[in-house]
């Protein structure tokens, strides 16, 4: 088919990319929020990966693929859900403003017990994660669902490791508060 990719590239693609398809799909699903859309995003990402396979240094195939999947998902979000791509700098500025003044953590209204968090069922947990703004959601999913370490997350999301830590902290805080609110509603 006068293909752009050589047999070599295809063999390399099969050994580098295909083993990480489940991770690619999981990230795409968490970012798009939809199974069919996630499949489209993964397919697009795989085509990009095949084109770029020659530039892959053979270091961390999973992080490399997830970087491409994230990029493809952002392109998709830009076309279909542009409102969800709030500029993260603005977002973090808003958070800082809210946090300053009162010494943030001690006086937060919702500070659930660990036992309450542990009682959250899958549906509530999934809904609470889906509500997180994209930069927080992707950081939390990469760490707590997909098990990447900070260094890998920094590579995939293209931010310093310190930012990975602060986003992860904010994402987890929001989740905890959300689960506490759910519990309050259910109890009342």
């Amino acid at each position: 088919m006068g293909s752009l990719s050589s047999e070599d590239d295809q063999a390399r693609f099969a050994s580098v990319v295909l083993p990480h398809l489940a991770d690619a799909y999981a990230l795409a699903r968490w970012l798009t929020g939809d199974r069919a859309d996630a499949e489209d995003v993964v397919q697009e990402a795989c085509l990009r990966a095949l084109r770029g396979i020659g530039g892959f240094a053979g270091v961390n195939a999973r992080a490399w693929l997830l970087t491409i999947v994230r990029h493809a998902a952002y392109t998709w979000l830009g076309k279909n859900r542009s409102a969800s791509l709030l500029v993260v700098d603005d977002l973090e500025a808003v958070e800082r403003q809210q946090a300053s003044g009162a010494s943030a953590f001690r006086q937060e209204p919702q500070t659930p017990e660990a036992a309450l968090i542990a009682s959250a069922d899958a549906r509530r947990l999934e809904a609470a994660i889906a509500e997180l703004p994209v930069p927080f959601r992707e950081t939390l999913v990469l760490r707590d669902v997909q098990g990447l370490d900070y260094r890998e997350i920094a590579e995939v999301t293209k931010v310093p490791i310190g930012t990975v830590m602060s986003r992860l902290a904010r994402a987890r805080r929001r989740l905890m508060q959300r689960l506490a609110e759910d519990e309050e509603k259910a109890g009342s």
Binding site: Q10, A14, N60, A114, I117, Y150, P160, I161
Partner: protein, 253 residues
């Protein structure tokens, strides 16, 4: 970043994730002991992580997805085992990338650690940089084990883990202090895992940790302390350790 990363409310996350270096981890443990609110936060973070892991397990990709991708790119399914030789240049590049990425944040688990851990990582890094990561190259335990027997008092336990996706690459002799240490090398996908066997008592086994971007697991079986080190993800390294400990020694099946 230096100002924000002294905030224990942030650092406690890195602590729970095992990403703090020992000095900062100790300092945070001191704060945890004196600050009940911080200790409660740590419990909440751990509860959240546990709950996510239990309730939202990693899913497999949909059945048709791999076929759809293969059709789209014209690729064939991956072989069960990687036959291709990994590129040593690429592996050496990975060492440098790890060193570069690791230099950014001082609170990370980069430096002081038990001396043996450092030496095990250093030996692994040196092997990745060398033309060959092993002194004897063979996927056959019956070749590798006798090679050790001729050189050191006790040959290590050699196991066949090819069914678990970990191919034996071979073995080498590392030196820690002045003691020769047998080390086996396995490959998973593009990555190498070094397993060193030390006489127990030399080093206390410890839970997973990370040094300079390398994951490290240590455990003790039958009086031998093993160290496994690799740049694969911690989960993959744990899977390897589990398979290694469960496997019957070669020639003993």
């Amino acid at each position: 970043m230096t100002t924000s990363t002294t905030d224990p409310r942030l650092l406690v996350h890195a602590y729970v994730d095992g990403e703090l270096d020992p000095a900062n981890a100790l300092e945070l443990e001191r704060q945890l002991a004196n600050d009940p609110a911080l200790a409660a936060e740590r419990e909440r973070i751990e509860a959240l992580r546990r709950t996510i892991a239990e309730r939202l397990p990693r899913e497999a990709a949909p059945a048709g997805l791999a076929r759809r991708i293969e059709a789209a790119v014209g690729a064939r399914p991956a072989p069960a085992r990687i036959a291709a030789h990994p590129s040593w240049r690429a592996l050496a590049a990975s060492v440098m990338v790890a060193a570069f990425l690791g230099s950014g944040a001082t609170w990370l688990a980069l430096s002081p650690a038990p001396a043996d851990a450092d030496m095990v990582v250093a030996n692994h890094v040196r092997a990745l940089m060398a033309p060959h990561p092993v002194d004897v190259e063979s996927s056959d335990g019956h070749t590798v084990k006798p090679w050790f027997s001729g050189r050191i008092p006790e040959a290590p336990r050699v196991v066949d883990l090819s069914n678990d996706g970990f191919a034996l690459v071979g073995g080498r002799i590392d030196v820690i202090g002045r003691t020769p240490i047998p080390t086996l090398v396995y490959r998973v996908r593009q990555h190498l895992i070094s397993v060193s066997a030390l006489r127990a008592g030399r080093a206390a086994a410890m839970p997973n940790e990370q040094i300079a971007g390398y994951n490290l697991v240590s455990w003790t079986d039958n009086g031998v302390t093993y160290w496994a080190v690799s740049n694969v993800a911690a989960a993959d390294l744990n899977a390897f350790v589990k398979a290694f400990r469960a496997a019957a020694p070669d020639g003993n099946t």
